[in-house]
């Protein structure tokens, strides 16, 4: 199966996992061609999910298209990286209609633009005036304290992470330290 994909797309970098999962990293512009080829020729008929990751350190978003071929029982993960400053990605809902929903979520949650995507005004967030919430530079706690009120009397509640780490003696990773009270 990998050979067949390699034959069609020589410059796609490949990482092999266990038996039925193949990973490919493809450049952003090649994704639509790649996906339609997978779907039509190689039998990856099912688009299971589109995941997205915010690599704030490398200033990039990563989008992972997860395909599934029922005949060969193979999962195909296609990773692409898009720039974080003005994130634009081609719209692929003409290949799979349900991709539209994932893309609308990405548009609202990460602020990725899909130029010719048909998206009615609001999907999940209505009246949202802050930066897209799933970006890692969005400080949720600060936003919550600003917009909502807290019931007084909850201050002395123990912090879950600290009690667990004390009990199991495991060190809290530094990126999580920011959130402990």
């Amino acid at each position: 199966m990998i050979a067949k994909i390699k034959a069609a797309f020589p410059n796609a970098v490949n990482k092999e996992y266990d038996g039925n999962r193949i990973d490919f990293t493809v450049h952003k512009d090649a994704v639509p061609g790649f996906l339609s080829h997978m779907k039509d020729q190689l039998g990856f008929r099912h688009l299971s999910h589109i995941a997205y990751v915010d690599w704030i350190e490398e200033n990039e978003f990563e989008i992972v298209y997860i395909l599934w071929s029922p005949e060969d029982k193979v999962k195909l993960f296609i990773h692409t990286r898009i720039d974080r400053e003005n994130p634009v990605m081609e719209n692929i809902d003409m290949i799979w209609r349900q991709a539209n929903t994932y893309q609308r979520e990405m548009k609202e949650m990460l602020g990725i633009e899909f130029p010719d995507m048909v998206a009615p005004d609001e999907f999940i967030l209505e009246d949202w005036d802050d930066i897209p919430p799933f970006r890692r530079d969005f400080d949720t706690l600060e936003y919550v304290n600003r917009t909502f009120w807290h019931r007084p009397g909850r201050e002395d509640a123990q912090d879950v992470r600290e009690t667990i780490s004390k009990r199991s003696g495991e060190e809290i990773p530094d990126f999580a330290k920011k959130y402990s009270r």
Partner: protein, 183 residues
């Protein structure tokens, strides 16, 4: 004689007695609590013996059950439904999510205090209270009605601007569009 003080009181007592024994519930299943209403209504706990019956639309309902965490979107719909109900109306908040936001207290779109947006008469604690706790909540509401203290509707009407300001804080565009509430 008709509208002097104590005859009005007698009428209120009788009316409150009737309101106490026949509560029509509009279950607005916003969260995981809606599943608790089914056992309370059916044979094991049977809320109907207390006169509690489901109502199909807000126009016919007396009590609005808010049964779970409320996101910004659902609060708008809950407020709208509340405004459509007829005036001696009460609200019961189910579970800790309506009390202080529960485990979603620090989520970017979950409401922490329900009574900042609509006047809540009775809260039932528990991360989804069991049917016994639900019945206990209803009985507490019935006591409030009997004593005439369950006047959430009146409270909402008196400080309407305050409630509307709070609602506008989280949903500015929506408040402009909603029909006015002047009764």
């Amino acid at each position: 004689m008709y509208n002097d003080k104590n005859s009005q009181k007698i009428v209120d007592i009788i009316q409150n007695w009737a309101r106490k024994h026949s509560i029509w519930v509009l279950a607005y299943g916003t969260g995981c609590g809606a599943i608790e209403i089914a056992p309370t209504m059916t044979s094991r706990y049977d809320a109907e013996r207390l006169g509690i019956r489901g109502a199909a639309t807000p126009r016919q309902a007396d009590v609005l059950l808010v049964t779970g965490y409320l996101t910004v979107k659902t609060v708008k719909r809950v407020v709208r439904v509340y405004e459509q109900m007829q005036s001696p109306k009460y609200i019961i908040g189910f579970g800790s999510c309506t009390i202080n936001g529960g485990m979603y207290y620090d989520s970017y779109n979950t409401i922490n205090l329900l009574d900042k947006y609509i006047p809540v008469d009775v809260y039932i604690n528990g991360c989804m209270p069991r049917p016994e706790a639900v019945i206990q909540g209803f009985v507490k509401l019935q006591q409030l009605i009997a004593e005439g203290k369950a006047n959430g509707a009146q409270k909402y009407l008196d400080n309407l601007e305050w409630y509307k300001a709070n609602q506008a804080k989280i949903a500015p565009k929506w408040i402009a569009k909603a029909p006015d509430y002047n009764w």
